[in-house]
Symmetry: C2
Subunit: 343 residues, 2 copies
């Protein structure tokens, strides 16, 4: 008992000591986090609070013009989130780093979607808890790629009281122009994070990523991939949490070097036009295919501004746009048509 008390005290002080890393107060009351230091809910919330702070501060260092605007929002149905946004900056045209900690009851459509992926759920209105960090960074310079990452933890309670819980997530890169070195750096950094936990992860989750971020009607991927996984429960929650932590911590080293390298590249009208067309494709993927966007928008009381933060500030659609043979644009499209191995 004494040990347990002591442990709690330690945890409590460590929660307080993390404050300086965050963008604002967590969604769950700090006292409640302190009371349940070993709960996966607490551990995930503290992880994503810290990652949000680290990523935002690393991006702010590269942005010369603006700071993140921090929006803390509460959801009537339970929980809330923290959205950090830079809009119309010199380096980042739109950058959103969002966390959410929500609970409530799953709408039937969401239960249906989960069942269709093989979840064994029964009942019509199951209590759920979901927490995650989700970010999309759209830089202004067409030579700096767009990055997306998302790490989440999910719990659902069946009608008979049994609980299911799992992790999902991933990090992926969407350049407008192909730079081999960048792709190798990005994928290598992800592989290192994966390899620490399971030597099979990188290759499995790289393939999964290429399959998931696929714009079916165009027969091309959204970008040059990365990693993606969902419904992860094995070998156990502790191990997966450590893996998710490594992945989330790898975002800054994956991405910031690419921003630094290209943010001052010269570019002209044609490159900007191409970037806007690519952003149109990004919008197509997110609104037509992305599970997270759909799940979000169809959840009652969803904060659509946070969900649609992933959309670029501007996008463009040209009828029957064709890339010129032998051009840099064609080089990019070839990789999207046929995903490559990068490491």
């Amino acid at each position: 008992f004494y040990f347990c008390q002591k442990h709690k005290v330690l945890a409590a002080s460590s929660v307080q000591s993390q404050k300086s890393l965050w963008m604002t107060d967590p969604i769950t009351d700090i006292k409640d986090l302190e009371k349940n230091p070993d709960s996966m809910k607490t551990k995930m919330e503290l992880l994503i609070m810290r990652i949000q702070g680290e990523v935002c501060r690393a991006l702010e260092k590269e942005e010369e013009d603006k700071k993140f605007v921090v929006d803390r929002w509460i959801r009537n149905e339970g929980g809330g989130g923290i959205s950090c946004v830079i809009q119309d900056g010199m380096v980042f045209e739109k950058a959103g780093v969002n966390i959410s900690v929500v609970h409530g009851h799953l709408p039937p459509a969401a239960i249906q979607q989960m069942k269709s992926r093989g979840k064994n759920l029964s009942g019509k209105n199951l209590p759920f808890f979901a927490t995650g960090i989700s970010a999309v960074i759209h830089p202004r310079n067409p030579y700096v790629p767009t990055i997306h990452f998302n790490y989440r933890y999910f719990e659902v309670e069946n009608e008979d009281g049994t609980k299911q819980s799992w992790f999902g997530g991933g990090t992926d890169l969407t350049p407008s122009y192909l730079n081999q070195e960048d792709c190798v750096h990005f994928h290598k950094t992800l592989k290192v994070a994966c390899d620490k936990h399971d030597k099979s992860y990188y290759s499995r989750f790289k393939t999964w990523c290429d399959e998931y971020f696929y714009i079916k009607h165009r027969e091309e991927t959204r970008g040059i991939g990365g990693i993606f996984f969902d419904d992860l429960e094995e070998p156990n929650h502790e191990e997966i949490f450590k893996f998710v932590k490594s992945c989330a911590e790898s975002v800054v080293p994956c991405y910031i070097p690419l921003v630094q390298k290209h943010k001052n590249n010269g570019y002209g009208y044609a490159e900007r036009e191409w970037q806007l067309l690519r952003r149109g494709r990004y919008v197509e993927f997110n609104l037509i295919y992305d599970r997270g966007t759909k799940f979000g928008l169809f959840t009652p009381g969803a904060r659509y501004e946070s969900i649609l933060m992933s959309l670029p500030l501007t996008a463009r659609w040209e009828y029957c746009h064709q890339v010129e043979p032998g051009s840099k644009e064609e080089e990019m499209v070839q990789v999207l048509k046929k995903p490559r191995s990068w490491v």
Copy 2:
């Protein structure tokens, strides 16, 4: 028999005589159209060919800069279409007037969708025929509204050989700024077209339109409505065809006066920004909710360029954009939040 022959000859010469009205040759061979003058397939194809020609020519008269580019495409799985597009014109930033005449087998997802609207279909791979005209006109000037219209005829054959067929369609307007006179003119012109056929049509289809073009997550309609209907089979195909004809013929008088009235209005940066934000909403509706877009994209061998022609050349998404109280922008949003009666 003689009468029938004579009738066919008349029909044949009348098909040939319509050539000058079209943008290019029809999808179905002219000889086949001549052979089946009384078939609803023929009548619909000839109607939409003529409407495509009329609408394109009326728009070209207003466009000072460009002519429609005409693309005739053939679908491997059966049928094809004609896409007419103006892009980056002085008056029309993007204008697409598309017809399609396709046949093949319905994919299971499409059958499921139709069943969920109450269609009594059985089987897994049902032969279908679909023909229609679909257009979206995005003008450059923020004071000229975007218009969309679509008129279509659909046939599905059940496994037991029984056939179901129905009509669908509508015309609706999406202004960036509210102009009461324009809304009244637009709705009145539609009401006149409806009233010729059934005094209950306008009010039923106006309500249906407001319900259909609804961006659920934003709790606002896409525009100021118009008419929308689907699954129309009663009282009989001949009567509905006449009604559809009246609606399709009302597009030019509904819209062209608004283009003429506003195409030279003065506007500045703020109006353009607002227009682009509204176009972002347009994209959201089309990619997340629109049945036609989904049906199109999920049909094997779909020509996505024609389906996505409805998307604007440029669109914009700002995080948490707020309209100013008392502004013209707020006036517009209020109508989208609470659809009005216009006639």
